[in-house]
């Protein structure tokens, strides 16, 4: 057993003992400790850029979606001038949510408690008993819904940030934007989100899901061992799932804590692999990828047309995606609910210009593989980890994040720090490196090195 401090307070000195990204060790404490969670709520979720939604979900004035930033309920609303606002979904009178629908179109948001009424920009418009009760002295301009001070959009993805010292979204994304383009900017018109969402409640720490999307290609073969077996056709050779481990690919990390868990550097490999041989839907999607390859190359260049496809990724801290994995792409967000629980929301995302037939095939692919058969075992893992590390001894264990230590570097073709294979824990080390910086700094954590 590794020696561990056993500290459970959230002071910078204690945290630095719990996370050692250079040695590749992380203590169980950071997944279960209440004081660490409280500090995350303040220093990670109130500072970083958080995913709010996709533009295609709110096309018209008054269209809104409900989401969370950390544990705070947020309304994301399309404004009259076409911009997007984020509003804290809490009435300024007593704090009740002024909107309890998940999405829709509204001209006003009326608090069901006493009737304070706000417009789509969050301005307080009317208050019962304004004359007789408040003698007309209530300054409505001071009592609007609290806005998310910064909302910015990157190619359809809407992000919000509470920290005025944070850099712009584009600067925050850094090298990650180049990789996100492979999901968001493949074809003319960009992407759209498919209606309907997966929302699951997991009794585990939010970082377990985030770090897995950030970098865990290692789990795929064991955790999802039951999936390729189920696909196998007795008349055809079983797809060699283990090939994934050896497939020629790379991993990307950014200093900002974002990463792509693994991407092939030759899409042709991907096109030949997997379940293509016996799923009609995957065949339809792969044919679409072949046909659209030239357009992707024209827009993004040959490097990005050849790869980096087939990837899980994470924008720090909690925006996750799967790009072109087994015939489909999805985006998601991990909402924390205390140290021991999170909600995992996900949507299908498709190229807007794809045909109806291709989009339908993509949705069916999502249902069967990533959000059907594979998810079930991920949920099992996260819950099981949380159960076992609650123990006073287990939480003191330093867990091993040392896979593929010290092999990263610059790459001629790919921006950021790159690991020369598909499977390492480099992304997780960078995720926790950045997490530690947020957790131990007094204000927005500047990056002073490269």
């Amino acid at each position: 057993m590794h020696k561990s401090s056993g500290l459970s307070d959230a002071s910078p000195a204690a945290l630095e003992q719990l996370v050692d990204w250079q040695k590749g060790t992380v203590s169980g404490h950071i997944f279960v400790d209440e004081s660490i969670y409280e500090k995350e709520a303040e220093q990670v979720f109130l500072r970083s850029w958080l995913y709010l939604g996709h533009e295609s979900q709110i096309m018209h004035h008054g269209d809104f979606i409900s989401t969370y930033m950390g544990a705070d309920s947020i309304l994301v609303v399309r404004q009259r001038d076409g911009t997007v606002k984020g509003l804290l979904n809490a009435c300024r009178h007593r704090g009740m949510g002024v909107c309890r629908a998940d999405s829709g179109n509204a001209s006003t948001f009326v608090c069901p408690f006493h009737g304070w009424t706000y417009d789509t920009a969050g301005e307080l418009r009317s208050v019962p008993l304004l004359k007789s009760g408040y003698e007309d002295k209530l300054d409505k301009s001071q009592w609007g819904l609290m806005p998310v001070p910064r909302v910015e959009i990157y190619k359809g993805l809407i992000f919000g940030c509470f920290d005025l010292d944070a850099p712009s979204l584009l600067e925050y994304l850094g090298d990650m934007a180049w990789y996100l383009d492979c999901l968001l900017d493949r074809t003319e018109g960009g992407t759209e989100v498919i209606g309907g969402a997966h929302k699951m409640r997991i009794n585990g720490n939010w970082k377990l899901a985030a770090e897995q999307f950030a970098g865990d290609n290692y789990h795929t073969v064991m955790t999802h061992a039951s999936v390729p077996g189920a696909w196998s056709d007795p008349d055809k050779p079983m797809p060699e799932f283990v090939d994934l481990m050896e497939q020629f690919g790379k991993q990307f990390v950014s200093r900002e804590g974002h990463s792509v868990a693994g991407f092939t550097v030759n899409t042709a490999n991907q096109l030949r692999s997997g379940i293509a041989t016996f799923s009609k839907d995957v065949d339809i999607v792969l044919e679409y990828y072949r046909q659209s390859r030239k357009q992707v190359a024209n827009r993004l260049g040959e490097e990005r047309a050849n790869g980096p496809a087939t990837g899980a990724g994470n924008v720090f801290p909690n925006f996750t995606y799967l790009n072109m994995v087994m015939g489909a792409s999805s985006i998601g967000v991990v909402h924390p609910h205390g140290p021991n629980q999170f909600d995992w929301w996900r949507w299908g995302i498709v190229d807007k210009s794809a045909s109806k037939e291709v989009k339908a095939a993509m949705v069916r692919c999502l249902h069967t593989w990533p959000l059907g058969m594979a998810d079930a075992d991920d949920g099992e893992n996260w819950g099981a980890i949380q159960t076992s590390i609650k123990g006073p001894l287990a939480r003191k264990l330093m867990f091993n994040y040392q896979l593929g230590m010290g092999q990263e570097g610059a790459d001629d073709q790919y921006p950021g720090r790159v690991y020369p294979g598909m499977v390492s824990e480099l992304p997780q080390r960078y995720f926790y490196r950045r997490w530690l910086e947020y957790m131990t700094s007094e204000s927005w954590p500047d990056i002073n090195d490269t």
Partner: protein, 177 residues
């Protein structure tokens, strides 16, 4: 004479369909997934929409529609994949096995179509107890299209499952409904 707007089914038909559902529930609770799989027609569609909260004026649009994102959207082929997964020893979500109890009630024969097809709705509660002390309870409605079958009695040509949850309150849906 009193005439009900509600279809008054032949009691033999009603009992036959109820017994069929009890048999189906028994197969699931006994983890006899391959036998359960045989109850579905080759062109079946097994579909569970996701649920959302809507504004009052949008009521009726809470469930996602076919073609959108749901929680299950299976053909006979992909349902077969799930069955094979459940029958394998490496599906960790169900290894060790969960203890489940499917309770089927409120069986309503809604319409009798030509070609011996029946639209039958029923309610369910599924209780899952897992590992030491984990409990999940799912309640909802199944909207089935059944067709008479000489061998099985009935085949499920279509099943739409309304799960009465917005955020799915379990770590997965590694059971069938």
């Amino acid at each position: 004479m009193f005439r009900s707007k509600i279809l008054q089914p032949d009691p033999v038909l009603q009992i036959g369909i109820e017994q069929y559902y009890y048999h189906e529930a028994e197969l699931l609770d006994n983890h006899e997934y391959s036998r359960w799989f045989d109850l579905f027609a080759t062109d079946t569609h097994y579909w569970m929409p996701s649920q959302a909260n809507r504004l009052f004026r949008d009521r009726g649009t809470e469930a996602s529609v076919e073609g959108e994102f749901g929680l299950f959207d299976d053909t006979k082929t992909t349902l077969g994949w799930r069955v094979k997964q459940l029958n394998s020893m490496t599906h960790w979500a169900e290894n060790p096995r969960s203890r489940t109890r499917h309770l089927i009630s409120n069986v309503r024969i809604k319409t009798i179509l030509e070609d011996d097809e029946y639209e039958v709705w029923s309610n369910f509660i599924c209780y899952r107890n897992r590992l030491q002390d984990e409990v999940d309870i799912w309640a909802g409605e199944r909207q089935d299209l059944l067709c008479a079958d000489a061998e099985q009695g009935w085949l499920i040509k279509k099943r739409k499952i309304i799960l009465d949850q917005n955020v799915v309150l379990s770590k997965n849906l590694s059971v069938f409904f």
